[in-house]
Amino acid sequence: MSLTEELLAQNTLSLDSKIPAGSVETKWDAYKSDMRLVNPNNKRKFKVIVVGTGLAGASAAATLAELGYQVDAFTFHDSARRAHSIAAQGGINAAKNYKGDGDSVHRLFYDTIKGGDFRSREANVYRLAQVSVNIIDQMVSQGVPFAREYGGLLDNRSFGGAQVSRTFYARGQTGQQLLLGAYQQFSRQVGLGGIRLFNRTELVDVVVVDGRAAGIVVRDLMTGEISSHSAHAVVLATGGYGNVFFLSTNAMASNVTAAWRAHRRGAFFANPCYTQIHPTCIPQSDESQSKLTLMSESLRNDGRVWVPVNPDDNRPADQIPEGERDYYLERLYPSFGNLAPRDISSRAAKRAVDRGQGVGPKKNGVYLDFSDAISRLGRDVVEERYGNLFEMYERISGENPYDVPMRIYPATHYTMGGLWVDYELQTTIPGLYAAGEANFSDHGANRLGASALMQGLADGYFVLPYTIGNGLAPLLNKPMPGTDHPAFKAAEQEARERFQGYLDSRGTKPPDHFHRELGKIIWEYCGMERTQQGLEKALSEIPALYAEFKTDLRVTGDSSSLNQTLEKAGRIDDFFQLGMLMCRDALDRNESCGGHFRSEYQTDDGEAERDDENFAHVSAWQWGGDPMKPVLNVEPLEFEAVHLATRSYK
């Protein structure tokens, strides 16, 4: 019996992924024609809470309101325009085949499955590739100024892990333009009264009554007031948890609280150890650094990655002759070259730096060199393509990348793991849905570039609006628990006590101290390369630091006015608990796949070695009452449309 089968027999809950019958090409159409509908006049009888107004949340809220549902939207940001999605630079994929270079829905599907190292659910990924084309149509009709060619048609570029040009972009600001498009559509509904917006309001708990999500408990960040909201369905579109590493490319406020609190109430957390380390970020310069800055992967279309062959070569880059440079990606992966997928490129950079070939004052980076591109295309073309990225690099590093190569190093960027959801994007708590980076559904063990924006918008625009209707239809005219239900009151009280607890602990160290230390442990032992020994160490160090957090935390101010120190304390508490689960998951997964690289499991030439016999499954963790005692459930992954193959980008 394989390990997957053995574990499956021990599941505490039957994890029904609700994948429709039929071939992968026909599943979504079959679902849509079979699903239950809510009559247009009845939609206004249903209230849906959408937490998060990033790409996934804003698109879901706007569409649900257009359909006629009453929507209450929550964000801890001051405006729906600001979510972390805004920072995405490079682009969004879609199987439009506008370039006629052989792209198709099937190819995007296959690339995504392969990019994810065969650890994602086929049916979801196929649907994602199918609706990708609708996203571009939708965004263009809303006025998103995607890059165009001189004839007026849309332009495309390539991203890692693909051999076709299918990435749509708006200069280096694709996320901004897409988010503003969704925000504008969302704002129209706020103006029309279809959406009530609660800004600067943070979800601090999810309330479950009789096994169904009944609503949420929130904290008004301006006044500290804790209150409840009930609804027929709750959507969490609250982003990823990359900030568990402290240093990451995520926005400073991104956090795991919403997903984690839902987890503690019964939502399973899937594959938490699948985190993505992005190969092209600006290396850390000093200890006080608060975050890392991404340099878009699109740069690898024209930039060449190299390090000096000789580790002791301290000459400036332009004085190192061609023959003494190691263009290691081109050497190791000739068919994908500088566009090898992220996990592979990141590990290759780490190995170069570990061998002592790193460049820069701290020898903690590799070169990304544009001199060939500048002489081939001219400076103007390079400037047109990447001008704003070059400027950003110069502002941060003080160096001009037109003259000297950029220095880059991998940094935490994205989290493939997240709340377990079925085909309908529903979590293990009925009535609670998860969308965008907050769920685990589409990227397996590694996400391809330009696919997160695609997934967020697919979930929000083209999946949830259908599947939520299917879930709501049977609830028509049934009584629902209101916020006066004891479960709400108890959750409110718990939240009040938790926040008061941080204020009362009166220790000596600010929350950031603990966050930074936690991040170091996770980066060291659960980062780009993991080992059994390291993970075991992390699993003893994190609880010890967590105990210290509980007694030695210092939070000043009070809980009845805006208090950013208190907000941080709450978020870091949840990061600690998640950190333990991540390491546990990484320790349990005795194979290497995608972003999860266990040094014990590698091929002779250092590539990830999967174990399909025992690990072709999703690890879905159930809260066991203590962050160190999670309960494992598995969902076996079945591959019908693609053959499980060893990923090769050589």
């Binding site: 001051d78 325009r81 972390h84 100024p145 310069s285 608060s290 975050k291 083209f462």
Partner: protein, 258 residues
Amino acid sequence: MSNVLTNITLRIWRQAGPAVAGRFETHVVDEITDEASFLEMLDILNDRLVTEGKEAVVFDHDCREGICGTCSLMIDGQAHGPQRGTTTCQLHMRRFKSGDTITIEPWRASAFPIIKDLMVDRSAFDRVIESGGFITAETGGAPDANLIPVPKPVSDAAMDSAACIGCGACVAACPNGAANLFTGAKIAHLNRLPQGQAERWGRVESMVETMDEHFGSCTNHGECEAACPKEISIDVIALMNKDYRKAKFASRKDLARQ
């Protein structure tokens, strides 16, 4: 190579809430590497304040990449500080030297009430967008994207104004607290595009009128353009005014025939 800056005096605006009086508080920070960003310098100060049992200075920030528009500080009287085309979060300490005194205040504009310390409420911007800053295109009905060709110069110009990050520096820099650059940028983005034509005249009317309800009037100082971290050109205001006049004085039917 990095240098260490010493003895920097910060005069920081502290205000406990919207309805109470504020004042300047002085803190000295020692030993900051010039590789640090301005906000990292404030992080270091805040960690120290909390360790000493004092309340941290409240300020808004999120992406720290110059794109979300959350950060919003008046630094020595300039919105986002001394470096042109740069948000507060992208400002680095290498712009300063040891011994400097730096004054840090919140945006000051009647449309942006102070919430606490250096944080203000910019929701009036959302109200402007809600009143018309969109193209009505409900999910599901869009035609194939390449059915609407957009000439590259038009698309590029739309993108130039769509680059606005909604930070509010334009309003903070304007002696009248006007939001014409912000509103003009969104109108210029949408009104230039073929997709935006159907609602062009209604959009400009309703957005300008909502803007006037919340913000002061523009008297062409041009401070907004100088303060804009995305260097959005004041031309968008001319375009907005032109469209507004047209929308107001020509009948809709005449405009439709143009």
